[in-house]
Symmetry: C2
Subunit: 331 residues, 2 copies
């Protein structure tokens, strides 16, 4: 295993310490494993997300003005525990309640559910928005129903902007759910990733094959296929997305071409070139976009596409100021 780490068991604490050193605007509680904004905002709905590490910059890189109030990272590919989530909620609750944004993995779902009950006992109002945008498979290794992947970024950005504007908990939860419902993702892997604790690739993939519909922990997709040109890979991913959520000419979208950690940026731009051409052919408008590494799978060479059919509210909230390590504009 080739990694810039000291020891697998020290990885999370040391990475958190590095985040603290790099981003003095954030508060990092290394012991409780909570990354949060420095100042509790009285009267503002607080957004809390979390999940296993290994998907950086998700979620810690999205903590800051206009997005998350706190993130609680678990060990690599392992759900955070309810105590962390409650600590995060307590650290940022400003009296207006907390929205938990939860990717649909069974461990995350159960632990956030327990955390919501514990937080409620502490007098904190909690709503939960589930993200389940990955159309590749219906059930998977660690998930009942669809997996939650790239749409998480859209949900956190847009709901975060609405909370920043002073909306109440119900409204913030509602738009989070609406963004998730409007978003679909599909991923393709060229290589497996290597989790530090196991030290070896999560699956075997022959030199001339790709995993079509892969999950962000390396969960199996729909099928193995021979490698194909980027144009055809994009067509496959987009077909899967559009089969589930048809788009028609004039529809406005937010599109993310996301690298899974080991894919060069120059390739992500080739992929964006192809998706832009394919959507233009259908008259679908890419109103906003992200191209880069946002929801990764450690060192996996792969790419995911996420398409959100965006209404005017979503686009306006997308454009609102955001100031986090991984997304920053308008500030």
């Amino acid at each position: 295993m080739k990694k810039f780490i000291n020891a697998p068991e020290a990885l999370l604490a040391e990475a958190l310490s590095g985040i603290a050193a790099a981003h003095p605007g954030l508060k990092v509680d290394v012991e409780n494993k909570v990354i949060s904004r420095r100042a509790r905002r009285s009267g503002k709905v607080a957004l809390v997300s979390g999940g296993g590490s290994g998907h950086e910059p998700l979620h810690g890189g999205f903590v800051g003005e206009g997005m998350l109030d706190a993130a609680c990272p678990g060990e690599v590919f392992t759900s955070p525990v309810p105590g962390q989530m409650v600590a995060a909620a307590q650290a940022v609750d400003g009296g207006a309640g907390v929205l938990f944004i939860v990717k649909n993995y069974t461990g995350d779902v159960l632990n956030f559910r327990m955390a919501a009950e514990l937080a409620a006992e502490e007098g904190i109002a909690v709503e939960t928005a589930l993200v389940d945008d990955d159309v590749a498979v219906q059930d998977s290794t660690w998930t009942a129903g669809r997996r939650g992947t790239g749409a998480t970024v859209f949900v956190e950005k847009i709901a975060g902007a609405l909370a920043e504007r002073g909306a109440g908990l119900a409204a913030v939860a509602e738009i989070a759910k609406r963004v998730n419902a409007a978003s679909r993702s599909f991923a393709v892997a060229l290589t497996a990733c290597t989790a530090p604790a196991s030290g070896k690739p999560g699956f075997d993939l022959p030199e001339d094959e790709m995993e079509v519909g892969v999950g962000i922990h390396g969960e199996p997709g729909r099928r193995r296929e021979k490698l194909r040109p980027a144009k055809e890979i994009v067509a496959t991913a987009l077909d899967a997305i559009l089969a589930d959520q048809p788009l028609t000419a004039g529809d406005e979208t937010i599109v993310m071409v996301n690298g899974l950690g080991g894919t060069p940026l120059i390739e992500l731009y080739v992929v964006f070139h192809e998706i832009a051409a394919a959507l233009a052919d259908k008259g679908v408008v890419i109103a906003r976009n992200l191209v880069g590494n946002y929801v990764t799978s450690l060192d996996m060479a792969g790419v995911s596409l996420t398409v959100c059919k965006a209404d005017a509210d979503m686009l306006s909230l997308w454009d609102a100021p955001v100031n986090t390590p991984a997304l920053r504009w308008g500030v």
Copy 2:
């Protein structure tokens, strides 16, 4: 070779087309291979850089307000040609002259020199700032003298900010050279990268070894070594940097922990944790930092450290607004 491309010979044009689609604020001349700001700025010194592709976001990702006016990318790991550089200079010259920022590789140096002569014949005043910050080796595969690597980001940001403030060509060139002179870099690779044209890894590296002092095209470093913990790797890199540019307690620095393309962000934060601790031990202040993929080597798993001993001018210019695909703040 596993890549999201259509064909190696189409890669650059398609990536440029993707950049154009993703960043409507930029002007992308796919035929001449020039990425530039939309508006020529009359009376402002224009900054132009360029080099082989494969190092994204360098340089195209640094075009925009407060940084570069134009970038001219060559084919992967291949210098752009003088005609491109002249086209870039002509596209952005606002009458106050053009600064070429050139990484020290023989092809880049020769081609930018010829371009400077051609631009002068067109009546454009040109100054050149060479970047040669890599302390690993004195001469290398494609370089006489030190290679230019991570400091390019610092030079482009700081000189770009000074140009934005309205300084003249001599002053902008002077601070670019001063930033380069104050900066040192050192890189370690865990894997080779695979250039699309060759289709295979640039060198062989056993599963338990790393290349210490690697170049951004996979040029050999100082030695091969057995893999070591992140703490020891950082010590090696920092020792090499400080041997060349000693720092003493109270010195202020800008530090970049840069991923070479295939290294997960969580590992980069572990590396930053170690460098922050090591510099704190010496009383050296990290006044500003970047942690992420800024000067990559395609899919290489590796990391480079860049340390700039920054004066107050540099820090103030660092903080000035910047609005590019890869660096954005204050706007």
